[in-house]
Every structure is written in C-alpha cells, then in structure tokens.
Symmetry: C2
Subunit: 425 residues, 2 copies
C-alpha cells in the first residue's frame, strides 16, 4: 500500500461538513450584499506580478504571495487580494459603467504566510466596494453591510463590534501635535502596536522614533479620547446614517484604528469579536481615493472592505452559530427491494424529482436494514419501499425515519404523504 500524498501546507480540504460551513458564510455574505443592491463579479485568480507591485512593491509581493514564472516567461502571482483586479477592470470600462458602481465578490485568495490560528495560505474572501461616490453616507452604507452580515450570522452587537476611525481626523490631530509629515508612517505603526506592547516599552519606542515627551503625552491623550469623532463632520454624518440604517449599536469610534496609511484616505473600520478569542479582525476596510492611479484610469474615489472566511469561521464555530450540518440534500431515500423491482424504485424517484422533491435512490440491491441504516446516518427523514406486494397493488410503503412509523399509501399519494412528514419535521 502506497503512502497517502499529503495536501500542501496551509491549503484547505472541504469535506461536505466543512463545505456546508463555507456555504453558510458565502450565503450570508451574498444576502447582505444583495440586500443593499450590490452586483456579484469576479476577477482572474492568476495576475501579473506587476499589478500588485504597483501598489506594494515587487519585493513585498514576492515575499508574501505565491509567485512564479509561467511558461510564457511572464511573472505571475496567485491573487493575494482583489483590489488591483478591481482597479484594472473598472479602468478598462470606466466610460461604460453606471456609477455609483456597487460590486461584491467571494472567492479564493492565497498568501504565503505562516499558517496559524485564523490564518491559512489558501482562503476565501468576501470583497465589497462602492465606487464613484465620496460621501460619509456611502462609508456608512459599507459599514452597515458589514453589520447586517454580522447580525445575519447571529453575531449580535454584544458579540461583535465595528471600530471606526477617520484618517483625515487623525491627520489634523497629528498636525495639532506638530508631528512632522515624514514621521506619520512611523506613528501609524506605533499606534498599531500599542495593544501588543507593554506600556513602558511602547513609550520608549515612541521616543525612539523621535517623538518629544510632549508629543507622546498628546498622542496618548488623543488615543484615549473616544469623543473625538464629534469634531469630524465625516464621522458625525456617517454615524447619523448608521443610526438611520438601524445598526448604530454595532459601531464604536476608536482612534486606535489605523489601517494602511498609504492606501486609506478617509473613514476606516475593523470588526472584532468582543470575546477576544481571535485577535485578528473579522473584516476591515475604508475609503480610498487612488484606486485607479496605478492602473491608468481617471481618478475615482471608493469605499469597501474585505472579510476572510477563516477568522469568522472560527468565531462562528466557537459560538455555536454554524447551523447543524444536514448531510444529505435529499431528505427522501427510495430503497431498492431487489433486482427485479429496482426499476420501480428508479421510476418512483424520478416522479418525485419531477414534482420538485430531491430524492436519492439506493443504487444497487441490498438488504433493507442496510439501506435504512444508510438513510439514518445521512439524517434523511423518509424512506420509501416498493416490495412485490406494493408493486402489484400500486402501493408504496412510506417510512417516517424520525418516528419509525410506516404506512402503505397509494402511489399517487406518496408525494403528499412525504410532504406531510417533512413539514412536521
């Protein structure tokens, strides 16, 4: 016996039960997206490295992505993110599209990172963006889509929160603290690390990057000021819109939310589970202004976010929020009594399917107890038997697999009899 060839590290195997969980997340993302009128789209899975290098630099792309030269000699990457493909596709049809464009997508992505809790090398990601409008209300809509998703999977605002900040607000505060422009990236990184460092070490680090003691004190006060949003017209308007959309309870201003300094330009947000069981964000996004600059289109403002399936999958699993796995998409097993009567079973299954019912037929003659046991393990609700007696008289035995009861009914009445059982199950 040969050895079993193992899967590649960080990839995913979806047995029907895991697929069921993945589909649960996909369907809720779909519903939240479409509820707000977003159209589904998708980009290629393989892209030229240059497409990503324009945004993050080729070295970083090569370090963090799966990249290779295809046989045509082109350097390509398995897409690590969707935004550059979005930019290219929008730029290519910028003159034809109906703006505002609202698009969402759900598909596979790859990053070459160390697999750990909440992180795999192959993952699925929900992306959703609105392009062509620059308004705080558009920002709020994207946050509301995220909140709608959280609510729809059973994550109440007690279990998950969306933390919101605004880059322009922070820039004006950094201006007030006299932090020079060339230190802004360092200061952003500093803020990002605060939760992960000891306070004394964090202070030392702040001075090390060149902040004065006065600036450090000012920064700490700033990061503790949770009313700061009231000074931002963008945020006050966004929060009013979130109130109007019924999701204000999910949202909290937090000056500690930074996200990529070079990319985001306005409101930014990240969702976390309140238990702190997974430290990584459930989703994150914000407003950006330079989407098409790197791919040669006209300037276009947008707002969007991305959610991986891994973090939210763990949180839902731990909270018991993934619905119970239903192994079989068919609730009805048509058993096969013996070889002679097999075609009667196949024809019966066909009639049920034509009537709109998913029905499985046992695909070979086998002892009935074995077939019932199979149906049981697949958590099916009904088994049908056509024995010699029934075949002769145009009857079918309908067995309720939950109660164990069985009745003989006329063939024409089988469908109604099954529906009665399924409706009461």
């Amino acid at each position: 016996m040969k050895k079993i060839i193992q899967a590649v590290k960080g990839t995913r195997e979806f047995y029907p039960e895991q697929m069921f969980a993945r589909n649960f997340i996909y369907e809720k993302a779909l519903a939240a997206s479409e509820m707000f009128g977003y159209q589904e789209w998708d980009g290629p899975f393989i892209e030229p490295i240059e497409l990503y290098a324009a945004k993050s630099g080729e070295e970083l792309v090569k370090k963090q992505s799966f990249t290779f030269d295809d046989r045509g000699g082109e350097a390509v990457a398995l897409r690590p993110e969707l935004t550059p493909s979005l930019a290219r596709m929008i730029a290519a049809k910028q003159g034809e599209l109906n703006f505002p464009v609202r698009w969402w997508s759900f598909g596979p992505f790859w990053r070459y990172e160390s697999p750990q809790r909440g992180r795999t090398r192959e993952f699925f990601q929900w992306n959703i963006d609105m392009l062509g409008v620059d308004s705080p209300e558009a920002d709020a809509e994207l946050i509301a889509v995220g909140a709608t998703f959280l609510r729809s999977v059973g994550l109440s605002s007690k279990l998950a929160q969306i933390f919101v900040n605004n880059r322009r607000l922070m820039e004006s505060q950094f201006d007030a603290l006299d932090i020079s422009k060339d230190k802004r990236v360092d200061v952003s990184n500093l803020v990002d690390r605060r939760a992960k460092m000891e306070p004394a070490k964090w202070d030392a680090y702040a001075l090390e990057i060149g902040l004065s003691q006065k600036q450090l004190d000012g920064l700490k006060e700033l990061l503790g000021n949770f009313d700061l949003w009231k000074q931002s017209e963008e945020l006050t308007r966004a929060f009013a819109a979130l109130e109007a959309m019924g999701v204000r309870d999910y949202v909290k201003f937090d000056p500690n939310i930074m996200r990529g300094l070079l990319y985001y330009t306005g409101t930014v947000f990240e969702a976390f589970d309140t238990s702190g069981s997974v430290k990584r964000a459930i989703f994150g996004g914000g407003r950006y202004d330079n989407l098409l600059a790197d791919v040669g289109g006209q300037p276009l403002s947008g707002v969007g976010f991305a959610m991986g399936d891994v973090v939210v999958g763990i949180i839902l699993q731990e909270a018991g929020l993934i619905p119970e796995f239903q192994p079989s998409p068919a609730q009805v097993l048509v058993t096969v009594f013996d070889e002679k009567l097999m075609m009667q079973s196949f024809a019966l299954a066909n009639e049920l399917r034509s009537a709109g019912l998913n029905a499985m037929v046992y695909p070979e003659p086998a002892k009935l107890p074995k077939q019932f046991k199979f149906a049981d393990r697949m958590k099916m609700k009904v088994a049908l038997v056509v024995g010699p007696d029934e075949a002769e008289k145009g009857l079918v035995v309908v067995k309720n697999l939950t109660s164990g009861e069985q009745v003989q009914v006329r063939k024409e009445a089988v469908f109604e009899s099954i529906k009665g059982i399924l409706n009461n199950a």
Copy 2:
C-alpha cells in the same frame, strides 16, 4: 497616464454580466446534483505535483499544468483536475464515510493549453461522482444527472445528446478481432481521431499501427454497429434505468466514444451539442475502478463526470438560453431628495430591507432625473421619492419605472405598493 496592466492570457474577467452567466450554470449544476442527493465538497486549489504524477506521469503534468516550486521547496501544481484530490480525501476517511458516497463540486481549475474557442487556461468545472457501488444503474444515474442538467438549462434532447459506450464491451470486440493487448492504446487513439481525419488517411494510419486489412474492416464494421449495446448486459441495464429515470431520449449508444483507456474501465459517456458548433464535449465521464490505488486506499469503484463552464457557456449563449441579465439585485431605488432629507431615505430603505426587500439607496444628493436615469439603466422597477412635502405628511412617492406612473402613498403602505408593482412586472 500609466498603461493598463493586462490580464494574464487565458484567465477570465467576470463583470457582473459574465458572473450572472457563470452563476446560471453553477445554480443549474447545483440543482441537478442535489435533486439526486449529492453533497457539495471542495479540495485544495494547490496540490503537490506528485498527486497528479501518480496518474499521468510528471512530465505530462508539468507540460499541461501550471506548476512551480513554492518557497518551502515543494513542487506544486494549480489543480488541473479534481479526481486525484477526491481520491486522497476519500482514502483519508475511507473508514468513516457513509458509502455509497455521492459528492459534487464546482470550482476553478487551470491547464496550460493554447486558448481557443471553448478552451481557456483558467476555467470552472463541475465534478460529480458516486463511489463505492459498481452497478449499471449507478452509471445510469450519473448520465441522468447530466441529462437533467441539460434539460434544466433548456438544452432539449434535440439540441444535445449523450453518447454512451462501454470499455468492457469494446475490449471483448477487440478480442474477437484478435487485436493484441499491446495495440489497444494505439487502437483507442485511432478511433478517437476518426472524426478528424480523411477516411483514406485514417485507413492508412490503421495499417501503419499494425492492424491487418481484415482487422481494419472488422473495426470499421464495429464502429458502425449502433446496435452493439444489446450484447452488453451493463449497457442494456443502464439503458433500462435511463428509461425509468425519464431521460432515455438524451442517450445514444456510440461505439466511437473511447475516452482515456488507462483510466476508465466500464461505461463511458460524452455529451455534445447536436449543432456541432463547438466540437468539444459538453461533459464526459464514466466508470473507473482504480481511484484509490495511487493514493494508498482500499480498492473502490466509482463513476463520475466533469463539465467545464466554457463549452457549455458558448453553446448556451449561441442558443440564446442564458436568461436576460438583471443588472441590479435590488429592484427598488430609494432616491435622495436633498442633503436635509437624506436620512429619511436611508431610514426608509432600512425599513424595506427589514421587511425582506432588497433596496438600494442613492448614496449622495443628486438631481432626481439623474437618479431616475441610473435606476433605469440598472433596469430597476421602482423608485421612491421622499420630498419635503412627503416628509412632512408621512408620505412617499412610489414611481413605477416601467409604466412611468407615480402615486403618493402613506409610508406604512409603501411595502405593499412596491410588491404590487413587482408582482405585475
């Protein structure tokens, strides 16, 4: 302005309209699969080259697939097919699974081939298999799933046909013609090429690979004998089951259908559109016996088929069978009268969503004609207006975008009013 970075040759860009078509195919594959009780699953998209090399040889894998060394030094491939992943996953849980296993999947695959009509380097494929049963009726079920799919997308048995053959039947015929075992691969290839070669050249080719004139004559008679299936118990039973499942009209015996000699062991089948507009098969599959041999599991028989999205997509497009594209998943646009009344529109859209209706709100103040024009282009059915008058009196203007009619209704009656329009549209 920078140049637009082009997509990689043979990859796919799905704008909402193309995504709509891809989803149409996906949803019909899903429905046909679940109607017969198949469970959805998925494998990794990156796999070790060895996994495919076991079946087809490493050289062939490298030639026909996207392969590369990942940074861990492992030689990997973007999956060119699903069966080896299926084999590994089944082998790993062979003791736990409930057989017969019925699984289906729909996802991306990659092959390094010259892009041409009906063939891209990145494509989607529907895979469906039944494992653990070796019966002609199981073979028939898979063919019936395929026929059900064809019927469900509008390809009647006049527009598409499934051609069926049986490897064991052919082997016995080759035995009768005294064609030696070591010539069987060459003869299979010969049969495969018949439709593509001129008759005289094909004859010459047959003699060239070592057939005698008598064998060639016998082979030609064999390939013209469309009643041959009556000599095969497997095929007669499969055809009876296809009759019982109501899809006999889709199926024709054809001794010219060969498929991979080294892989398939029993019944084989391929579907084609009858117009001949695309020469490649819509789907193809058959019975195999050695699924787990290469990955170290216990012997297991199976039957299955695979369908790419590209060929069927072209056929459906040409036959006008892709449903009309509905650009917006929301049929209702809530317009924004002005900045002051914006929150009224957001709150109204939220109420409609809470009632279960997909509703889009215009995300910034704009002239009403511009908003109506947008709704029109998105083929939406209803636009709502909350102006100063309406806001004061608790009213909403409901505009039927198809007829142009508009009525003022009380806010509480908006939902019913919209439903009336949508139900009549």
